[in-house]
């Protein structure tokens, strides 16, 4: 359902993506691991066209979408994103955060959007926080609202950019649980994370990325217990202590 071929990206003199290709099937959960600076975030942002790759192709449902005649906004409506720093709209309540997209982008009428929004907030366990402002919520709660906000657009797939890296330890569990529930419901997900427990439980495949390239790809057992590449072995060894 999502496929990228030979993505290249430079930021000035920095060669961040060096010919990256991957493919994700519908309903599959793909986890990307790797050291910081390996280009994972850039890769994610190329998929929903927040960043335009220098060369390469991005496919959504078989159609190439990084073309001049396709509006990036249309692509981003199909693919939701959850950020490391939550990025909730600080001036809006949780419910308003969730309904802003449907109302202003999809044109849903406010009443329907509100009802759907409440359902989504309930789904992530925050039904009672609908009228709270982000500043009044804990990190874990904010991130779950962010998940609900992305889901409100009814996306075909969801991208997660280190969703728990900015959280205090006691809140990580609740966010990972919400993500696992999403996976069980059949959502196509690409997750960049350091949470190996989540990766081994929920992911179907894991990609190891380093210095702009995909080094190795395999099932969780393969990557964690019998990595084929030296670099993968070193990285996994450090993480799985």
């Amino acid at each position: 359902m999502i496929r990228v071929e030979e993505l290249e990206k430079h930021f000035g003199a920095l060669h961040v993506l060096k010919g990256v290709s991957l493919e994700v099937q519908k309903g599959e959960v793909l986890v990307i691991i790797g050291p910081s600076g390996s280009g994972k975030s850039t890769l994610l942002r190329c998929i929903n066209l927040l960043i335009e790759p220098d060369s390469g192709r991005v496919f959504l449902d078989g159609t190439q979408v990084n073309r001049r005649d396709i509006r990036p906004e249309w692509v981003r409506q199909q693919v939701g994103m959850v950020f490391q720093s939550f990025n909730l709209f600080a001036h809006l309540t949780a419910l308003q955060n969730v309904t802003l997209g449907p109302i202003r982008v999809l044109g849903t009428d406010p009443t329907t959007a509100g009802a759907q929004g409440r359902k989504l907030l309930a789904r992530v366990g925050l039904a009672d926080k609908a009228d709270a402002y982000p500043a009044q919520l804990s990190g874990g709660q904010q991130q779950r609202v962010a998940i609900a906000r992305a889901l409100a657009m009814n996306p075909k797939a969801m991208l997660f950019d280190e969703p728990t890296s900015a959280l205090d330890p006691e809140y990580i569990r609740e966010v990972l649980d919400a993500m696992a529930a999403l996976a069980r419901d059949g959502m196509t997900m690409i997750v960049v994370t350091h949470e190996m427990g989540f990766a081994s439980e929920v992911a179907k495949r894991i990609l190891f990325m380093d210095a702009g390239r995909i080094i190795e790809e395999g099932s969780p057992e393969e990557i964690f217990h019998s990595p084929k590449q030296e670099r993968t072995r070193m990285f996994v060894g450090k993480i799985l202590r």
């Binding site: 430079h10 930021f11 000035g12 927040l50 960043i51 335009e52 220098d54």
Partner: protein
């Protein structure tokens, strides 16, 4: 808006953009000056022979500004210090004093004298503090025009036989001093308070007295914080000194330019000279201050840059 577009495309557009920007800016400026010069007449001869007089007038502006600035700095520093100390609620002050007195008197209960003494000192501190606050509020809440005229009236009433130039000078310097004193007290207060929180506790934890903490920890940092706004304040005061035109007897730059304009009818030339000299002084200094601020900024530490030009 931050761009999230293709890097390569951006660098090509960027060069065109810069060239076009320079072209448009210079072009608009040249066009405006050309039209104005045509409409109002531009006598370069007048400019050529008169500009030394304008420069002399500018010197007078600078003299007046500098005198007022430094006297005002003394006032501002004292007031800023006084206003940066938090006034504790009365009950806590009394309780603290009581504890100290008990510790000193070794068990005996503190007498009524101590209580009244504390109350008196506190009362005086309170009213001094409130008056200082009011002084600054009034300076900031009323136009400089009014302040100048107020002082000028006082000077005229009390020293009616003084030379008009001296009257104007006296009134101008006093008013500008009072004005900048008020604004500088805000700068010093903000500087001291910004550093104060947390730093005093930390330094006392390592054994410094309250005065020692002030001297070795708070003040050095506060000085660094305070320099950019103080420099901006100097520029602001220079611009404010132009308001002495209402007095009319002090030949600073604006007064001089105005009288030249109306006497010689070279209005546009006078305007251009006055504006040109002000810009020559203020813009480079402001840019340097901006650059310094940006370069040496410590994220999270800084005084809100509020406009210091006030009238």
């Amino acid at each position: 808006m931050p761009a999230t577009f293709d890097e390569q495309r951006r660098s090509r557009v960027r060069i065109v953009d810069i060239l076009l920007a320079i072209l448009v800016t210079v072009g608009i400026l040249a066009y405006i000056l050309d039209v104005l010069a045509l409409r109002w007449g531009l006598s370069t001869a007048y400019i050529g022979r008169s500009y030394p007089n304008y420069l002399k007038a500018a010197w007078i502006s600078l003299y007046v500004t500098t005198i007022a600035y430094f006297i005002g700095m003394g006032i501002g520093f004292v007031l800023g210090w006084a206003r940066s100390v938090r006034t504790l609620p009365l009950a806590r002050v009394i309780a603290a004093r009581r504890r100290e007195a008990v510790a000193a008197a070794d068990g005996g209960s503190p007498g009524a004298g101590l209580f009244l003494g504390t109350l008196l000192v506190y009362g005086i501190k309170y009213y001094v503090r409130r008056t200082a606050d009011a002084y600054v509020a009034i300076i900031r809440g009323t136009p400089l025009f009014v302040q100048i005229v107020f002082v000028w009236s006082a000077v005229l009433v009390f020293y009616p036989r003084l030379d008009p130039l001296l009257q104007g000078l006296l009134a101008g310097v006093i008013a500008l001093t009072a004005n900048t004193g008020g604004y500088q007290s805000e700068i010093f207060r903000a500087g001291i308070q910004t550093v104060h929180s947390g730093q005093v506790e930390a330094s006392r934890a390592i054994g410094l007295s309250r005065w020692g903490a002030m001297r070795y920890i708070v003040l050095p940092q506060a000085v660094r914080l305070v320099i950019p706004p103080l420099t901006n304040e100097y520029i602001g005061l220079l611009k404010a000194s132009s308001l002495l035109a209402v007095v009319g007897s002090v030949p600073e730059l604006t007064t001089f330019g105005r009288s030249e304009a109306f006497q010689t009818f070279h209005i546009f030339e006078a305007f251009a000279l006055v504006v040109g000299i002000y810009l020559l002084i203020t813009v480079p200094v402001s840019k340097v201050v901006e650059w310094i601020e940006r370069r040496y900024r410590i994220p999270g530490l800084g005084i809100q840059a509020s406009r210091t030009a006030r009238v």
